[in-house]
């Protein structure tokens, strides 16, 4: 496997790969998201308890799920940096953190907007909401550490350590609705049981989930491309990529 992975360790090769994948992910993300969200907003029936406010779920649930998935991917990259010192996976941390932070912010904001008419309050300090807020702080901390050192390798390592330690928050977020009494409702879909949601509402949600996944990958790739260029600035291939002429010509 390592022999197969080796050429990817060359920044230019990774850049080309990201460049090739990006348009596919972007186009599919926009397509799937538009279908899913229009379906959810226009054609799905209103909820019998929550009325039309439940439609916020079509962005809230995907954002919340992928705020955690992106964190997991970032932590896996952090592990690789610390164990094998593969620098591109360190750059991945920088690329993924803001995307995860934005997804977390979306989950928190849309949750608050949904909570106001449903629970009668924007915010409660319960386990689910608080642990998700901590996730936002973790992302911010990882990003701050990444840039906190003059020596970018030191920053990368510090960010990686925080990212790894923060993984402990993921199961807390996930199980918070089971471990503690909370206002937050349980999961609408789980892997193990039949979904507790009608098919006419479920299909748009599944599409929105796929769309958010594709969009997250696209945004991380977009940022990863930038970070590779930034780290390799001054190399001939970078000048050629950025303004069409090699730098030592």
């Amino acid at each position: 496997m390592w022999r197969w992975l080796h050429p990817l360790a060359k920044p230019e090769t990774s850049y080309r790969l990201a460049d090739k994948l990006l348009p596919w992910f972007s186009i599919l993300a926009v397509l799937v998201l538009s279908i899913g969200l229009v379906w959810g907003l226009v054609f799905a029936p209103a909820d019998y308890q929550q009325g039309d406010s439940f439609r916020i779920m079509y962005i809230h649930v995907p954002a919340a799920i992928f705020s955690m998935s992106v964190y997991f991917a970032m932590a896996a990259a952090a592990f690789i940096v610390l164990v094998w010192q593969w620098k591109i996976s360190g750059w991945f941390i920088q690329a993924a953190a803001p995307v995860g932070a934005v997804l977390t912010a979306i989950a928190l904001i849309t949750g608050a907007i949904w909570g106001k008419p449903t629970w009668g309050t924007w915010w409660v300090w319960d386990a689910r909401l608080t642990s998700e807020l901590i996730l936002l702080f973790l992302y911010a901390g990882v990003l701050a550490l990444y840039y906190a050192f003059e020596d970018s390798k030191k920053g990368m390592k510090a960010a990686a350590i925080l990212a790894l330690v923060g993984v402990v928050n993921l199961p807390i977020i996930h199980f918070s609705v089971e471990w503690w009494n909370t206002l937050h409702q349980g999961a609408s879909i789980t892997k193990f049981e039949a979904p507790s949601i009608a098919p006419s509402m479920l299909w748009p949600l599944l599409l929105a989930l796929l769309g958010f996944a594709l969009l997250s990958v696209a945004l991380v790739l977009l940022r990863l491309k930038n970070e590779i260029l930034r780290q390799e600035l001054g190399k001939p291939w970078v000048s050629k990529e950025l303004h069409g002429e090699p730098s030592n010509g």
């Binding site: 969200l37 907003l41 226009v42 209103a46 009325g51 039309d52 406010s53 439609r55 916020i56 962005i59 809230h60 954002a63 803001p98 995307v99 934005v102 912010a105 979306i106 904001i109 849309t110 907007i113 949904w114 106001k116 008419p117 969009l215 945004l219 977009l222 940022r223 491309k225 930038n226 260029l229 930034r230 600035l233 001054g234 970078v238 000048s239 950025l242 303004h243 002429e245 730098s247 030592n248």
Partner: protein, 67 residues
């Protein structure tokens, strides 16, 4: 037209639903726009670096024959 207004009204939840979708769109678009902006900055930085390098090279070349 009535149907459209009724849909926008969202059974009284219109403000909540649309503001949630609007904020989401704004944040995601912000990420993409920021990335484009960063790339532009990198291109400028790279160009400046190259100009400095070629100036240095010219100076070295013009000083050599006199030695």
């Amino acid at each position: 037209m009535d149907k459209l207004l009724q849909w926008l009204h969202m059974g009284g939840y219109g403000v909540y639903v649309w503001s949630a979708f609007f904020v989401t769109f704004l944040l995601l678009a912000g990420l993409a726009i920021h990335a484009v902006w960063v790339r532009k900055g990198l291109a400028q930085q790279s160009e400046r670096l190259q100009q400095r390098r070629s100036r240095l090279k010219r100076r070295q070349q013009s000083s050599k024959p006199q030695e």
